[in-house]
Symmetry: C2
Subunit: 180 residues, 2 copies
């Protein structure tokens, strides 16, 4: 049985920030409205499991973004053992992300989508667990904020990726697609 894939589908500014200071995602709303979904629906076809950090989850909820995704299981990583979800498709997880992900990838299912934040992502890419990257570059220099890529914490050997495709959207997004 082949392992399930862990995929990242995320936007960043040209200078590498996924959010402006204060978890501010308003720059994403300043893209011109072109009706494009930037490949999101197609991407989600292959996904049945979504993982994210607790802070990202709270932020998305506050923005009334579509969370949870219909038909997907959601696992929210937190260090707070007391959190309980009332949504049956959302489960809080206090386990170590890397070990948990290795087990999850070995289960049956479609691909797994990590929607951030940067710390959870760092844990996964540092352990070389990310199989696919779809990074949409927003044509803006933010100057400050939360970097998509935190520094590696331990000894780290560079990870080379296989370029798949690039796509320029009318909205101004330039989307880079890589596989491991």
């Amino acid at each position: 049985m082949s392992m399930r894939k862990l995929k990242v589908f995320i936007a960043m500014s040209l200078d590498g920030y996924l959010a402006a200071p204060g978890d501010d995602l308003s720059f994403l709303e300043q893209l011109p409205p072109t009706g494009e979904d930037h490949g999101y629906q197609e991407f989600m076809h292959d996904i049945d499991t979504v993982v994210m950090g607790r802070r990202t989850y709270s932020k998305l909820l506050s923005m009334e973004v579509t969370v949870p995704h219909e038909g997907c299981k959601h696992f929210i990583f937190t260090r707070d053992c007391s959190l309980q979800s009332e949504d049956t498709s959302v489960q809080y997880v206090v386990a170590a992300p890397v070990e948990w992900m290795k087990q999850e990838k070995a289960r049956e299912g479609k691909s797994i989508y990590c929607d951030g934040g940067a710390s959870l992502l760092r844990a996964f890419w540092e352990a070389d667990l990310v199989d696919e990257w779809i990074v949409s570059v927003v044509p803006v220099i933010l100057g400050n904020g939360i970097r998509l890529f935190e520094q590696a914490q331990g000894e780290f050997n560079p990870i080379w990726l296989k370029p798949q495709s690039i796509k320029q959207y009318k909205s101004g997004l330039m989307q880079l697609h890589y596989s491991r």
Copy 2:
């Protein structure tokens, strides 16, 4: 008279580093040799002036990269007043980069190329002096090193760019082209 343009033509890893720790640029040499120049010659056609920081200049000299560029004037920014170049096309500059650049842009000539490093670039983009960005994304996660984009130092209003084109090279580089 229209002002001269300041252009940046630079490579970074997917995680935003222009060099690995220790000013190490060896990841650039690990791209497969495809004979492509990634648009460099075409870019240089429009350039008659090159500016860079002293540390970048020393690094390039040590790598025996083509510096100085034939037919171009070179200005190397440094805080060390004692430096003198024996090469007549290379001049050390101790002036404040932003004021100097504003004056240089007002002179007659072709475009100006800033070849780094990150601090000199930051001074220029933070003052909104960069007119064109050609950023080549190398398909690697380095994990650590020198970020192409330092944090803005002062109050900073996001700078939106005009997407021009994207190009995928056989070498694996994905090149993003923006103008101001």
